[in-house]
């Protein structure tokens, strides 16, 4: 049992293991006030909500308040380990900043009020708009951080009650492409793989996935394999020199926007060398010939020109993929938020299909999620498809829902795909969407081209309802603010990136008048008097468990089948993977064993889309193409990105995450330990670019695009030449009002990003813009002081001493910010001590 500073060592101590062995157990515990585990009054079961890993944990209670967390050793996902954000981030929930009373706008200002007044206003406005224009005036934009029960209830209200097609979730920004890529290849969402594939794989390929920072516990598992016998080889595709890249056998750093060309090049080599499973291809797939024809035009030399990657590295990477015995691939935002997102992500599926590497240990695909309950938004039908992975283009699926809800099928909109977020905003911009209800999201920081978003959301023609736990840049624009309860203050379930369902129980009461999101939705349905065809209440449940039971009925017989699960089963045991049914009561670890796909025309969630135009495939066309439900190998040509560098804007600009923060920092920014680790926005630039411009570490730069300007300190290194990187976490809630745009300097990365989305997944692209930089001020001198004044140093990039006179440079070891910033500076010493119990 050791004490570890998990800010300085985000992945904790190594517990090496060999292929096929079980990942050793290690229980991470963090308690405040120097408490020990035996002094805790009680432990309440939950899971992590500051990433999508689904790490199971117990909440420690002492005298009725939360005093810490401990990883659940019995859980299949984390075997007791926790992410630094989860170890320390819960402290934000007791922040004095919490929203505790409803507010409404009066005379241009938000004023506190009571629930009746706030909800009656929302209901009155809803009724008025329904009378004036109908359901098309009303839109809902939910989170990726609520619970399954809340999403399902909201979906029933919006589709079965109000009848609007305008409902989406903030998972649109993070991982809509994950769902789409799975639908294109397998006809249905649902990750084929399992985290246990890490235990068996001999090659792990990470595509645009900085797992070390975004899924730290999962990365611990990889690090433990790397430290053990017969470690796997790693392929990393990322324009940044991330910890994953440093651990990789082959690292490809393509030009931004060229992922599809790179994937076509890798497939070209795999096919040319005959590294394919012809039996698998002919038994279970369609479309191989088209892939062969298309990737023939992508030999390594050609791809090397497009991507600016050495051709021999492409061959080496293809050889890793082509000769793997057990291949695990993970995909994340580096693909999802870049040009031709879905087409590129689909090629990862194609590698597995041509190699026959699915449905057995070590052979998996994990299209990662970003937010803890992103998977549930998609399952419950508020992320772009109908509940239970039902197909909006299949009238029988719509009828099933109508029967389940006891409403007329014509009430449930299915004239087209559910309206995606960016289109909703366009409708709001042109004035046809007049009420938007935002639940647990912060679009004023998280969406592209913020000047436009601010303009749309502050329009007086739009009635904006915002439901959240903290005041945010978005609540400031709201007409009604509804204070919500958060994790630990309510009960519900959520599902991670490998289909594992966890129960999260209520530990404490929410502050003030804050209410669980579920209660707010139920109250709205009651006040609106939503009824079914027999005049009974449309929403027939009153609590989380009731909602879960209703969802079980909705999911029964569908791919995401929860019918074998219950609160009783989940409570006390731990995470279980869906589908979980009477015939698979312990859940299902791998999908698509022996080519059993969910792509039959009668069953599939989606008929797919054209990988270039995004136009939906017509139902009749799909039926003719895939009558027996095979996997689809879909090929696509590379198109140049919509913006490429020019003399005016010579850099590519990409945005992303850092380990210490989550989303727009509404929680992590309120936890000293995490906030001091990465307090300020920074910009990364390569050594060569900095030397050419005579810039040194710590200089204050202005980053300029046609959309806006941002000021940030320079961090040199860690990214390929020609590319700038900005973390997207920083907004304005902790900046004085007179220092925000348009008066003050911008610091939100999305001031700069273009409005553009993948036409297939309709996910906004945050990694395809161009930019210029200008020096505003030299950094503090000597530059070393600057190193400790900003930026998370433990993980991302190595700082580089650039000698501006000679252009020479050398990498230094990352200084441990932890050892400096956490020395007592007069005030109370902040404890980062985390107990590691290796069992």
């Amino acid at each position: 049992m050791g004490q570890v500073d998990r800010i300085a060592e985000p992945w904790g101590s190594r517990t090496p293991y060999a292929p096929g062995e079980s990942w050793p157990l290690r229980v991470d515990t963090h308690l405040v006030d120097e408490l020990t585990a035996d002094q805790v009054d009680s432990w309440v079961q939950s899971a992590s909500v500051l990433n999508s890993s689904g790490d199971a944990l117990d909440i420690a209670l002492k005298n009725g308040r939360i005093v810490g967390v401990r990883g659940r050793v019995v859980d299949r996902v984390n075997h007791g380990r926790l992410d630094p954000k989860d170890l320390y981030g819960w402290q934000a929930t007791t922040s004095p900043d919490r929203l505790t009373r409803p507010m409404i706008r009066r005379g241009g200002r938000l004023e506190e009020t009571d629930w009746d007044t706030a909800m009656d206003l929302v209901v009155a406005r809803t009724r008025q708009l329904l009378a004036e224009q109908g359901p098309s005036a009303i839109g809902f934009f939910a989170s990726g951080q609520l619970f399954l029960e809340e999403y399902y209830t909201l979906g029933v209200i919006a589709r079965g009650g109000i009848g609007t097609n305008h409902i989406d979730a903030s998972t649109r920004l993070g991982t809509a492409t994950a769902a789409q890529a799975l639908q294109e290849s397998f006809g249905c969402d649902g990750q084929p793989g399992s985290y246990t594939d890490i235990d068996h794989a001999d090659v792990i390929a990470l595509y645009g996935h900085n797992m070390a920072e975004t899924h730290t516990v999962l990365w611990s598992r990889v690090l433990d394999r790397l430290a053990g016998q017969n470690p796997p080889a790693l392929l990393c595709v990322d324009p940044r020199h991330t910890p994953v890249a440093r651990a990789a056998t082959v690292h490809l750093a393509p030009r931004p926007g060229t992922n599809l060309a790179l994937m076509n090049g890798l497939l070209h080599e795999i096919l040319r060398n005959g590294w394919v499973d012809q039996d698998y291809i002919s038994a279970y797939t369609l479309g191989f010939e088209e892939l062969e024809r298309l990737v023939a035009a992508y030999p390594p030399a050609q791809v090397a020109r497009i991507c600016d990657v050495p051709p021999e590295h492409i061959r080496e990477a293809a050889q890793l993929l082509g000769t793997a015995k057990r291949l695990l691939s993970t995909v994340a935002q580096g693909f999802y938020q870049s040009h031709q997102a879905t087409a590129a992500a689909v090629q990862v599926n194609n590698v597995h299909l041509v190699r026959g590497m699915l449905g057995r240990p070590g052979c998996g695909i994990l299209h990662m999620n970003g937010q803890p309950s992103a998977q549930n938004t998609r399952e419950c039908g508020i992320g772009g498809d109908l509940p239970g992975f039902r197909n909006w283009a299949n009238p029988r699926h719509v009828e099933e829902l109508a029967r389940l809800w006891n409403v007329d099928p014509t009430l449930i909109p299915h004239y087209g795909a559910p309206t995606h977020l960016m289109q909703m905003l366009r409708y709001a911009e042109e004035g046809s969407l007049r009420m938007l209800w935002v639940c647990g999201a912060n679009p004023v920081v998280s969406l592209p081209e913020l000047a436009r978003i601010r303009r749309i959301l502050s329009s007086e023609h739009l009635f904006l309802v915002v439901q959240d736990i903290f005041p945010s840049e978005t609540t400031e624009l709201a007409d009604v603010v509804l204070p919500a309860a958060t994790w630990g203050e309510k009960t519900g379930t959520f599902t991670n990136s490998d289909r594992t369902v966890h129960l999260s129980d209520k530990a404490v009461d929410p502050p003030g008048q804050a209410r669980p999101d579920l209660d707010i939705f139920l109250d709205y349905a009651r006040r609106l008097n939503l009824r079914d065809a027999d005049g009974q209440p449309l929403v027939k449940w009153r609590d989380a468990e009731g909602a879960f039971e209703a969802w079980k009925a909705c999911s029964a017989g569908r791919p995401c089948d929860y019918s074998g699960l219950s609160y009783t089963l989940l409570r006390g045991s731990s995470g279980i993977q869906w589908p979980c049914t009477a015939s698979a009561p312990e859940g299902t670890e791998h999908l698509y064993i022996n080519g059993a796909f969910w792509s039959h025309p009668d069953y599939c969630e989606s008929y797919g889309r054209d990988l270039v135009t995004g136009a939906p495939v017509e139902p009749a066309e799909y039926r003719a193409l895939n009558p027996s439900g095979r996997a689809l190998i879909k090929a696509a040509e590379y198109l140049p990105p919509h913006e490429v560098p020019s003399p005016a804007y010579p850099f590519y600009l990409i945005t992303g995450r850092t380990l210490s923060h989550f989303q727009t920092r509404t929680r992590t920014g309120r936890v000293d330990l995490l906030q001091t680790e990465a307090p300020q926005v920074w910009v990364e630039m390569s050594v060569t670019d900095a030397a050419e411009r005579n810039l040194i570490e710590g200089d204050l730069l202005e980053i300029i695009t046609p959309r806006g300007r941002v000021e940030a300190r320079l961090r040199i290194g860690g990214v390929r030449p020609g590319v700038l990187f900005l973390p997207f976490h920083y907004g304005y809630w902790d900046v004085p009002e007179d220092q925000r745009p348009p008066n003050g300097p911008g610091r939100a990365a999305n001031e700069l990003t273009p409005t553009d989305w993948d036409p297939v997944s309709r996910q906004p692209l945050f990694k395809t813009g161009v930019a210029e930089v200008a020096l505003l001020r030299r950094g503090p001198s000597p530059y070393r002081d600057a190193l400790f004044s900003f930026g998370d140093r433990t993980t991302t990039t190595l700082p580089v001493i650039a000698d501006s006179a000679s252009g020479a440079s050398s990498a230094t070891a990352p200084p441990r910010a932890a050892s400096v910033s956490r020395e007592p500076s007069g005030s109370r010493r902040i404890s980062t001590a985390t107990t590691e119990g290796v069992l």
Partner: protein
Amino acid sequence: MNLIGTAIQQLHQSEQRLALDLLRLSERHRADHEIYHLGRDLARWCREHVSALARIGPLYGVTLDPDLETSGLLSAGQQEPTSPGETDAMVTPLLTDLRHLYREAILMSLDWEVLIWTAQAGRERELLELAQRCRSQTLRQARWCSAKIKETAVQALLVS
């Protein structure tokens, strides 16, 4: 010039016209970002068809310009960085433009089909391959138009 040559010449003209219409659509609806970007992406296919037709033309007695004259609408195939989209109320004009494009693309796909049959009958292997490839992309352009019409029309009609 034989009849195939005439057909090639006509398609060369139609492809040029469709490209220009796609680019105009893109320009006219800059604030509808998907229309703006896809209009330009899809004009690229027309450009490729135009140069493919110009390459094969001499075999059938026609000399054609391999380049698309876009009068600055699409310089070197690259797009300018977008500035903040302006608000407009172009829903109905957008529908009109998309319907026009759809009609054009569908008619052109029919012309390509005629060329496919002709090439098949005349056992013109290279021409057949070209026409099949182009027709498939023309149909995809048409389907994109119809999908965008469906997506846009419902909201426009429900509101009005």
